[in-house]
Point group: C2
Chain length 403, copies 2
């Protein structure tokens, strides 16, 4: 008994059969006495089809109009799911983003949720209606339609759960939980029963592809109990919460991210203010920088290296090209033939053995390490792209399958 | 210079090429110094495709959810047209029904427009933006999405023109104006330069298929100057207005309607209250009755015949079956193998020659008349379906091509 928010992605509602599968999960939860709010994404390839239509007309379509166009995808899903639930004999109402009260900022195609006006939602819930909400969308202060960008539907679900003080926010996917590594890459990967927000955040950021980090950040901020589970198998998934049972397993997961490029500025003068100049220029162009490494100064010069997503590589090189002379840099170089592999687990910092164990596993597998970055709960290494899977399995076997 | 409302139907925006054709018409009008508000329908077969999706899930889908689903069709069109206009270098904003301020009653799938909140529209026009509005849709007082049903986009356009006091409401279609008869059926049909609202109303109702009568009714009510013209040829169409130049041509057009079924109650007692009993029951089931004829009482009984659209035939027969015994009727019969052919023109009533000329033309063509109905500006006859085209051409030749 309680209020459950359930989120289903595009593949979960891709056709009539899958829609009825979702409808049964939802109505079973409702029949157990819960209030249920459901967030859905656009069906299967709908978004891609709409983008294709737009490109045919105008490859540089305005972001405002792209949002008007793309938000129809979820609107189609909510009505179809409501029809299926109605067919099963349960009371249901679908709500678009603006109807559900999603107010965002004005950054079209990547808007941030500012507030949720709960009136309509609470009104429908008080009538014991199942409420289906279009994920990924809202409106700004001018009543223009906005979309939330990547991971938007997950974020919609967690935001709803936070606003409504839901007892659980269930994110249904095509996997049955969070694994110690991507099971498609690491055959020995194990499912986790629980994981903390921070650990999940590192895994999401590192390319575990289960949840988008925006949604986990929001879950952590508002302490929303979350669960990742499969829409095809009826069994418990992985719970994400603040504090979890102390477990034997220190390392929660191993992840790799191939969407990464390394950019280096070689031979800049070893004087104060250089890093500021570089990264303020990158920030001005809204380039997200991940790992940053600066070499120790030698002969009066130093090197600065950082990683960005591949789509930002060219823009980053352009920015550095512009300031290269100004910085008196020797050269600017770039490499996107790399992969980032990481281990994640709370308490890592107080266990110095983790890093050496990881490096040992890589050495045994003959993998060369290009860069190393550590945080409280994570150790990442940058390696050659071709070694990616080998490294992933070597590290996974060393930590997860050690006993 | 002025404010022009332009409406384009689904075939006019069915693909990228046609969308750019529309964009050029719009931007040419704008470039002449006009403010332009454009109303568009869903692309080509989009609505049918969406209905198909719904049927697969739930053949008895709720009307509320059908409206959520179908309204996405126009939303796709407005964004694509806005992208095309943007590409041509003109300032443009798309607005969905609710963004454009369309407030309707709560009759889902056949809502009536109650009011248009002009604020947003006027704000965009004051910035000299071309405004693209999704036709066919609005919201009710609960912020639920509604659609206007058949002819909805025409009605949206005329309502906008009325609310904004537009100088002209141009309805673009795939024909270049209103003809004296359907050119596909009557090769000698002639295009009209002008027609009154009333005449257009009779022609629309009678199946001329150019404009839906709801839009013409609204045009007449608010004296909106309308024009029907082709989106493919750049030439003047047919203007629809209150008073037009006196012309030699008395008869404005000849139309036929095959979507008609005749229902008869045979041998009911010739006592008061019978007609009331019959038509109040039909009205309770929302069956629209067109022509009504009652035979003169004889031997204490009379016959009542009326026509309904074919889709209402079975329901009408059911209603009459239920009350047949109560009415003491001899029999209830039905025939949908019929066609209604009509001549339309102002001043017909003061020209008794019109009716006889029409009947003469039908007699010469060997067409038997089953029922006759007349109004101030119209004479309709019910004939055998197989004689439909023959009758249409015979009447057209007698009136329009007389000189």
């Amino acid at each position: 008994m309680g209020l459950i928010v359930q989120k289903f992605g595009g593949t979960s509602v891709k056709d009539a059969e899958r829609i009825f599968n979702v409808a049964r999960i939802v109505t079973d939860t409702y029949a157990q006495g819960n209030n249920v709010v459901v967030v859905v994404s656009a069906q299967g390839d709908t978004t891609d089809d709409l983008i294709e239509k737009a490109k045919e007309i105008n490859p540089n379509a305005s972001e405002r109009e792209m949002d008007v166009l793309l938000s129809t995808g979820e609107q189609i899903s909510i009505s179809l799911l409501a029809m299926a639930i109605d067919k099963l004999g349960f009371p249901v109402k679908s709500l678009t983003g603006w109807q559900a009260g999603f107010l965002t900022d004005s950054s079209h195609t990547r808007a941030r949720i500012r507030r949720i006006n709960k009136e309509r939602l609470e009104n429908e819930l008080s009538k014991r209606n199942i409420v289906i909400v279009a994920g990924f969308q809202g409106i700004n202060r001018y009543d223009d339609i906005t979309t939330l960008g990547r991971g938007g539907s997950d974020t919609s679900a967690v935001a709803l759960a936070a606003a409504l003080h839901a007892d659980n926010c269930q994110i249904y996917t095509d996997v049955d939980g969070v694994y110690t590594a991507d099971p498609r890459l690491v055959p020995n990967a194990k499912k986790l029963d629980e994981i903390t927000y921070d650990e999940m955040l590192e895994l999401a950021t590192l390319g575990a592809n289960v949840l988008h980090n925006r949604s986990v950040e929001m879950g952590k901020k508002y302490s929303v109990p979350m669960e990742v589970l499969s829409s095809l198998e009826r069994k418990p998934g992985t719970q994400i919460k603040e504090v979890i049972k102390v477990e034997k397993m220190l390392i929660k997961g191993v992840a790799r991210d191939n969407d990464v490029a390394r950019v280096s500025i070689v031979g800049v003068p070893d004087t104060p203010g250089i890093a500021f100049k570089v990264f303020s220029q990158l920030a001005a162009k809204k380039i997200n920088v991940d790992i940053i490494l600066q070499s120790i100064g030698r002969d009066g010069t130093k090197d600065i290296s950082f990683t960005v997503s591949r789509s930002h590589k060219d823009l980053a090189m352009e920015v550095l090209g512009d300031i290269k002379e100004n910085l008196n840099a020797h050269d600017v170089v770039c490499d996107d033939n790399i992969s980032k592999v990481s281990v994640v687990g709370a308490g890592m910092q107080t266990n110095p053995g983790v890093a050496s164990k990881m490096f040992e596993a890589l050495a045994d597998a003959g993998v060369n390490i290009q860069m190393i970055s550590t945080s409280e709960i994570k150790i990442s290494v940058l390696i050659d792209l071709k070694d990616s899977e080998k490294a992933l399995n070597a590290i996974h076997d060393a930590f997860i399958n050690e006993d």
